[in-house]
Assembly symmetry: C2
Homo-oligomer: 436 residues x 2
Amino acid sequence: LKAGNIEEFRHLFLELHPTDQVELFISFDKNQRQRVYEYLSPAEFAEIFQGLELEQQKEYIVELDQTFAIDMFNSMSADDLADFLGELPDIMAETYLNNMGLEDAQDIKHLLAYPPETAGAIMTTEFIALSTKEKASDVLKRLRQQAPDAETIYYLYVVNEEGKLVGVVSLRDLIVAQDEQLVEEIMSTRVVSVSVLDDQEEVANVIKKYDFLAVPVISKQGKLVGIVTVDDVMDVVEEETTEDIGEISAARGAVDLQLSSFSAAKKRAPWILMLAFLGLITAGVIGRFEETLETVALLAVFIPLIMDSAGNTGTQTLAVVVRSLALGTIDRVGVGKLLKRELGTGMMLGLICALVLVLAIPLLYDGNWVLGMVVAVSLFAALSVATVVGAAIPLVINKLRIDPAIASGPFITTLNDIIALFIYFSVATAFLHYIQ
Amino acid sequence: LKAGNIEEFRHLFLELHPTDQVELFISFDKNQRQRVYEYLSPAEFAEIFQGLELEQQKEYIVELDQTFAIDMFNSMSADDLADFLGELPDIMAETYLNNMGLEDAQDIKHLLAYPPETAGAIMTTEFIALSTKEKASDVLKRLRQQAPDAETIYYLYVVNEEGKLVGVVSLRDLIVAQDEQLVEEIMSTRVVSVSVLDDQEEVANVIKKYDFLAVPVISKQGKLVGIVTVDDVMDVVEEETTEDIGEISAARGAVDLQLSSFSAAKKRAPWILMLAFLGLITAGVIGRFEETLETVALLAVFIPLIMDSAGNTGTQTLAVVVRSLALGTIDRVGVGKLLKRELGTGMMLGLICALVLVLAIPLLYDGNWVLGMVVAVSLFAALSVATVVGAAIPLVINKLRIDPAIASGPFITTLNDIIALFIYFSVATAFLHYIQ
């Protein structure tokens, strides 16, 4: 098919949904891609290019000639283009920007100036702003011309003479309105907005909370500078979830199926090695009690039980905290209350486990009830501490805004292991004469 | 303020965004809520009721009198109402349905008949369907009347005489079109739809992939029966993510900040206890090697290192699999390829750890290079197995469609612990004479 004539390819290919065009394009080899660049106009290819992942964009951009690329950039939406150029080396991005239309280039430069993962960085500047005194019928007329350029026309934001955001009109309101009604009569003034420097996760939470299709972004001065649409937010949510899951499992940056064994191992090895070194520290803690162990080798048998219980309890707490940070529910409940609750939960979990084991261990190990007591008391103390550690560390890390990766599940688990084993062997050493 | 007069409260309260009304309502005590029921009409209160969580809806429904509740139900959107009634005991739901308008009640009954977590269960039946021969201007006129009832008017679906879905027109297309153009001239025929029995996660992936605001749901016969909007999908994504994180951390159903210590402990205790019992099995495995341990107590020192490394490696793999199941990327890559990649990754990770430890352990423990060898060989074998276990179990569980909770992180970790410790002590026992 692809070897055939231009017209037929264009007809069949452009009939497809852009997302499907992207999928097809990715499956092409280099020769076939070259033909796509020939057959499609820069504007048509822009649709495909926008749908590619950043990594793929970087791979294919070098296959395009400069003029084609510039024309394509001019057809791309400002936010997608800014995302892409932000990933390129500065000199390359500069070169492209200098060759683009002046106005577009200005827009992009503004977007590039916002810190990553903020509302400013993910917003688009292609929105439609209305003034309060426009008539509904005039707005509809204007939409017919501007619709193709705007990211969404379903929410129209109303600004006053100074560019400040004063209201919002949905296209639905506009359709239902009388032709002669003024924008200020049909607009809603209870407009929810976000600030350019707000974190992208906060933007996502606003859209989710209010079931919006888009949210306006305002500058420090209250001026409307852009909008974030729900599809961008879906991407943000996906990205943040992948990050959160990576954190809980210490597989940050490696939760990707496309990688080869070798690159997956390369990305995951630092975590595993670092955790293995922490394992050596744990070994050191147990090593301090070697005498105790030599006296009662049976004590070693419960190391996994103690470790797993403390580790699991801490991980449960971590999951609660990570999820509530993502959903923003933590502000409503309060950090103090959360810590108190987790301590309470840990003590209760410890008590239940202690009660079960104080009965189970003598049954399984020749009526050695002192051993049962030692394990039970240690577990109670270890689980109480584990929940507090599991809650406090991610909260502190989040507060200090340092890289939350070090608060990841396995680190907290290892920390809880060390504490739990230290408690266990200390208790065991104290009661050593009675266990034998 | 609340003690004051009706008019002032209504004015201030109804000015708020429904989402904010909900937040305020939740903060009220019982007396204040009673007054809200008096002051607001059933239709006004329906807006608030729809915004509540299912648990809260069940709590407050008993405070409403029957007539008020029925009137409120009639104002609610069909999908929200079906969600709520589905949670009630059958007899209660029946009573309410029998007292509602016949047509609405029919709609709800249809929705209730779909299995939970399918497209049918989350869709709404309040959509606008067009026929191919309508004129653009007529459609706009019709929208003015029907807009208040429909869930979204931004996508309009086109059906033929048999009710089959044949195209889609966005409100944007309609605004841009000439008044005289027919629907069939402006509609797009490349319409992506989902089937009523599709899993809600698949629906979410379609909407995310194509950046849709809504997706049509068709019956087995190809008839248009409903739509799923992007805001419903956001809720689905949130729910599924919370489930996934709960699974990785064995805190399923307990990732909720609102719970008291006692109820959190009650929900989490079964997991911790079950895992503690698995810990007793692990204890049994080590117990089988008690003689070996008595000969070389130093072996116990590396139990945590072996366990943690195997556990962490398995959890990383689990995170990859859980995430790719959620994003649907696994179908593209294939299960066989994934397993092969994970085995390769595990072997490489094992090799790296082995190389480091075979050098580090003799350095730290008086040049005991046989001990280093034992730990290194065991780790290599254990990590290779751990990735395969971490990938295979959730995949099998997913394939068999049994409750994926048993594939949760800690279970896989414990399984990997047992395998790893068995390997370690077997190797150690084999080389026992050389270690001392």
